[in-house]
């Protein structure tokens, strides 16, 4: 990220993408012209060598002065190789080093003439020119891929020395005043080798034979040792000499720039949070220096010592950089990037103008009208006036119950699916329902063999109808509190989600068997109707088909001895339901009222069912208390489980600590302790989750009979909350009662309040709007 952009002065495509390297660029007055115009020389791994001049701000084809194809060009350098003041071009090929002079021809560009060349014994990696050992002209030091430094003076091979600890060739640079070659090795240190040491090292060091000890001792020569090493801990991409008053070395790491003094001490290091590719020190005044650092993020940073003096973006991904003066403009940067683009840029001062993706022009009128339309729908929805039901609907038909082959339930083995029904889904003409999902919810102990059916890709239209068979069963021995299943179908029509919901009444015979009636029972409920009593044969025709007319019928909760008896009075219009336990009666009562309603449907006057006396509330309270105590015990058990788990964890920790320990002490009784704790934890889990089938009671619909206990919320709280709400709103006697903010639902401390509220509720219920049916 940079505020400024590098501005293009001159640019051209110099070579193939991906063939340029850090040494592929040389800028300077290579042809020794009188005007001192700097030429740009570019070589590439494909062997293309081009010489350019910059005549004006834009590239013209005449700017290419010279082009030729050679062997792959690994590196270019400019130096005085034949005489002290000459400017010549040295080119490194894989197996050859050659020095050329470049001569300008009036009107025809330049021509290259080879002064000397030398075939190389070893495959070359890179080279550095320098006046080693006080030579008057530049000597070339070529590093080979296997670590030999060969010195060529005017095309003649001089010394050959091996770099110790060599693995892959590192960058080279020559420090003139110390007469030392600086390189970096695979040990990620920058090392300095004095030329004198190299020269005086045994000739034998040239024979790379076996290991180093052999080299140094057997052959008698001195080992090549480094003058100093600076361990920087990073691979070095480029080494540069920085011409400050006391020259120092710049080592460019992968993400850092290291400044190393000529005695090998680390002066400072800059970490730059982007991958770096090349650097160039320039304008070194006194002890301070400017360095151009380029990275792959396309930003050219000009560092002034530690500070970022300037940053300009948009420079591509340069692999080589040089400063240049062109057309009289000083301080231009020549960049050669990975794609082979050669460009001369200057650091512009205009801030980059953000180029934003153009947005579509909005049609504000259309948007306004759309908004108005939507707002109309929204306000209609708020007032409940929005028409949500579509004209046509999915047609759902539910068949009567029929017996099916007995199948044992996987959820609860005591339940056997014996009765079932078919749900048929079909669609009217021109109606397509997709994403159809059917869900069936039963209250335990009743269960259905399906919980949810997803039709996925199956669309329902006028030609495709779907039949779903469902089977129902009851878990044995648990009293039933409700006798229906909720069926909900969700589907999508023309992208709009729709739902269908209905309640399927379930037969009493799911959970009860017909049994001989009991004459006596502990608990009784009497219900009165406004019609004359009918016999049980009329009330439950399908159960008592073929039996004698009887005024009484018994229902035994399957696999138990509990029998609920229904008796119709001979004279009055009352029915009595009696049983030894309240809970057994719940399901039967539901079935009786349903059967009565069915039998008297359409009769005049409409059937009214009433109950003259209220059953006592005390058994309900006892049941509530029992359930409450169970929940308290469960909470305590959960707390204990928590403690046990903590202990388990700390034991594990201690064991782990022992494992980590270098000198383990005996584990003592830890393992048995761990086992015991784990056993206890498991036991408690068992207890905790088996406790849930608590009481089911007969209470009216507001005080829900369904005991749905979750960890956070239990029956007591939710009932208490709904009662509180009712008492404070519909059943309120004074305005003062109405303002109560419901608190959060928590396990109450005792059931007293609940008892009180239930009593209050039952007291106030007669005559209230709920009982009379007014909303």
């Amino acid at each position: 990220m940079s505020l400024f952009q590098a501005k293009e002065f001159w640019t051209t495509k110099a070579c193939e993408p991906g063939t340029t390297d850090i040494g592929s660029l040389v800028v300077g007055n290579i042809d020794n012209n009188k005007d001192g115009i700097e030429r740009i020389v570019v070589g590439s791994l494909t062997g293309d060598l081009s010489i350019y001049t910059v005549a004006e701000m834009e590239y013209r084809s005449e700017d290419l002065l010279f082009h030729t194809k050679l062997a792959p060009v690994l590196q270019l350098e400019m130096g005085a190789f034949s005489s002290p003041d000459a400017r010549e071009l040295a080119i490194l090929h894989p197996r050859e080093i050659a020095v050329y002079t470049v001569k300008g021809i009036v009107g025809q560009g330049v021509e290259l003439s080879k002064i000397f060349g030398a075939k190389l014994e070893r495959t070359a990696a890179n080279f550095v020119p320098g006046r080693f050992g006080g030579a008057v002209k530049d000597v070339i030091c070529v590093q080979s891929m296997d670590g030999a430094l060969s010195f060529y003076n005017h095309g003649r091979l001089g010394l050959v020395r091996f770099v110790p600890d060599f693995l892959v060739p590192g960058p080279l640079c020559y420090l003139q005043h110390a007469d030392a070659i600086i390189t970096s090795s695979a040990t990620w240190a920058v090392c300095s080798y004095k030329f004198l040491v190299l020269a005086s090292a045994g000739e034998a060091a040239a024979q790379r034979s076996g290991d180093s000890s052999q080299r140094s001792t057997k052959e008698g020569g001195k080992r090549v040792t480094s003058d100093w090493e600076c361990n920087i801990g990073e691979e070095v991409l480029q080494l540069r000499v920085c011409g400050t008053k006391t020259p120092c070395i710049l080592a460019l790491g992968r993400t850092s720039l290291f400044w190393i003094a000529d005695d090998g001490s680390l002066l400072r290091s800059n970490r730059i949070e982007s991958p770096l590719s090349c650097c160039l020190p320039f304008r070194c005044v006194g002890e301070s220096a400017h360095v151009v650092v380029c990275g792959t993020d396309g930003i050219v940073r000009v560092m002034h010592d530690k500070k970022v003096a300037w940053a300009a973006g948009g420079a591509g991904s340069p692999v080589a950089v040089a400063t240049t003066t062109q057309c009289g403009v000083k301080g231009l940067l020549t960049l050669l990037d990975e794609n082979g683009t050669l460009s001369v840029v200057y650091l512009g001062t205009d801030p980059r103008l953000p180029v934003l993706k153009s947005q579509n022009e909005h049609n504000y009128e259309a948007m306004d009208s759309e908004l108005k339309r939507l707002q109309k729908i929204m306000s209609a929805a708020k007032d409940g006036k929005l028409k949500t039901v579509p004209d046509a609907q999915l047609q759902v038909e539910i068949s009567d119950f029929y017996p099916v082959d007995p199948v044992r339930s996987e959820v609860d083995p005591s339940a056997v699916f014996q009765t079932g029904l078919t749900v048929s889904l079909s669609a009217p003409a021109g109606y397509v329902a997709t994403d159809v999902v059917m869900r069936i919810v039963c209250e335990r102990p009743l269960i259905c063999d399906q919980v949810a059916i997803n039709f996925e890709d199956q669309a329902i239209d006028e030609e495709t109808a779907v039949d779903v068979r469902l089977a129902f069963a009851s878990v044995v021995g648990v009293p039933v509190s409700s006798l229906h299943a909720a069926l909900s179908i969700t589907y999508t029509v023309k992208g709009q989600p729709q739902t269908y919901e209905c309640e399927v009444p379930l037969p009493l015979t799911l959970a009860y068997d017909v049994a001989p009636p009991n004459k006596t029972a502990q608990h009784k409920i009497t219900i009165a109707t406004n019609h004359t009593c009918i016999t049980m044969n009329e009330l439950f025709p399908e159960l008592l088909r073929g039996h004698e007319m009887t005024p009484a019928i018994g229902f035994r909760l399957r696999d138990t001895d509990e029998v609920a008896t229904v008796i119709s009075a001979k004279t009055s219009s009352r029915y009595r339901i009696q049983a030894d336990s309240w809970s057994t009666m719940a399901g039967v009562l539901v079935a009786v009222t349903r059967a009565l309603r069915q039998h008297f449907s359409g009769s005049t006057p409409p059937l009214a069912i009433s109950m003259k006396e209220l059953p006592s509330l005390s058994p309900l309270f006892t049941a509530i208390d029992t359930h409450f105590h169970i929940r308290r015990a469960k909470a305590e058990m959960a707390a204990a489980l928590g403690e046990q788990a903590t202990q388990f964890r700390s034991l594990q920790k201690r064991l782990l600590a022992r494992v980590k320990d270098v000198t383990p002490s005996p584990i003592d009784q830890m393992s048995s302790l761990l086992e015991a704790t784990q056993h206890e934890v498991h036991m408690r889990w068992l207890f905790t989750f088996d406790l849930d089938d608590a009481a089911f009671h007969r209470v009216s619909s507001i005080v829900s009979p369904h005991v749905v206990d979750t960890i956070e919320q239990g029956w007591e709280e939710s009932t208490l909350a709904s009662l509180t709400f009712l008492i404070s709103t519909t059943l309120a006697r004074s305005e003062k009662d109405k303002i109560v903010n419901p608190g959060p639902l928590q396990l109450p401390d005792s059931t007293d309040k609940l008892h009180r509220y239930i009593k209050l509720f039952v007291d106030r219920l007669p005559g209230s709007s709920i009982a009379t049916g007014e909303a």
Binding site: M1, S2, L3, G18, T19, D21, I22, L45, T46, G47, A71, P72, L74, P94, T123, A125, M145, D165, L167, V168, P169, S185, A186, T187, W188, N231, G233, E235, L237, T255, S256, L266, R268, S269, N270, R271, E273, P275, T296, I299, R301, K306, K307, V308, A311, G313, V319, E338, P351, R352, L353, P354, L356, Q359, K653, I739, V740, N741, G743
Partner: protein, 502 residues
Amino acid sequence: MEGVDPLFYAHFLFRRRRYTEAADVCSELLAKNPYDKAAWYLKTRCLTEDVRIDETELEEEGLAEVMLDENAVASVPRPGTSFSRPLTDSGSSRGIRPMSKSGRPVSGFARPGTQGARPSTMEAAVRTARSATSRPVTSASGRYVRLGTASMLSGDDGTFIDVSKLDLRKYAFRRGLARALVLYILHVLNDTGKAMELAAYATEAARFQDWWWKAILGFCYHRLNLFRDAEKQLKSSFKQTPSILACMLLAKVYIRMDQPQNAIQCYREGLEKFPDEPVLLAGIARVFEGIGDLTKSVEEYKKLLKVDSTNVEAIASLAADKFYGDQPEIALVFYRRLLQMGVESAELFNNLGLSCFQAQQYDMALGCFERALSMADDEAMSDIWYNIAFVGMSLGNVKLAREALVLAVTCDSTNGEAYNNLGVIEQRKGNSGDARGHYQTAIKVSPHIHEPHYNYALMSLEAGDLQQAYKQVNDALQLYSAHLPSQDLLKELKATLSQHAS
């Protein structure tokens, strides 16, 4: 490449960061000569660099690491000495500066580890930073996701290096190979134990004189969560040869140990050796931000900007600070600078829009929000709608505000601030039931903000439910003790209650 030595070409590709190609060339070389050390070294380096994540980069701590941390010294640390207990009353106040989901002041720049404060409960840990999935369950599975690609890469020609068969003791003496190998084991194989073994041998082989090996050993210990050992190694490394790497790793270890003061001290020592080093300055600033000392954090960011004026993180942080410090015009300048520097994101346009609005450049504000919406993902979208609602409310356009808020909670149902404002709007319309619901939702999804508590208290007081009001105002004060309206309300409540009592 014709005419070029393959090893040279591989090395060239490696230098040019074309790792996959380079590794392929090396594979060919190794197929011809399996004992070619240079090719082996290069291939190791290529495979490593391809998947390497900077060791000094902070990582998001995993759920398991945070919750089962055994290194915290005090369970109830004093403010400012731990990331889990930020300074509450320094810098800008909580009333003005919003908090991230975990209750840390929102910073200008998001990077790993800056988003969530250390949670104190499991519930808070799971909820941290917007959604339950944002925090990896353990860092072992979350952070090294890129491992898969690495193992597949080497799977092409069988496992490249089978470390269990190598004699690490022997390799420790091969100075060049060992370094490449240890990074390969760390980053590609992700076998910290083996890496540590090699590092220990190599340190020994270097006669305990190589700072780099000590730093890597420290890093291995850190990976294994043996922070005390890591600290020892890194300290020794830094003492022997000061280096930025060791300094940053050491600070990272301190941060993991939840010792922010030590981390700052460590950065300071590093700065003595490497004056004005940007990464160290940024490190200090981040730690200060983490412990809630925003004033000092801003000071460090300013120092950083003096050294490197292109640092996006510093500019963004300064902008955020200026914005919440009631200087929207200056914040606007910073944000514009970011835009000019090429940062383009929904968040930036959102901030620009807000700054424009605060600086009373209304025409620009809505344009910025529009642009932000077109670039935003769901999470940012929620915040942008929230801000649009804020603009609507400030302009008195309650309808716009309400609809924007509804969109905000649709985009992100855990946006507590939006629920709170929705509650305020409903309350003003007289729908106290809806308002109460919104406040309760706000309290539930964002337990760290005090506004819904205060609003709920105010509403309860109006309704005459003194007990609820008392409870909520106390909750509000617990979250933000310097909240003046809450204090006033509490005083009023106390007076009323004592009146009733007497």
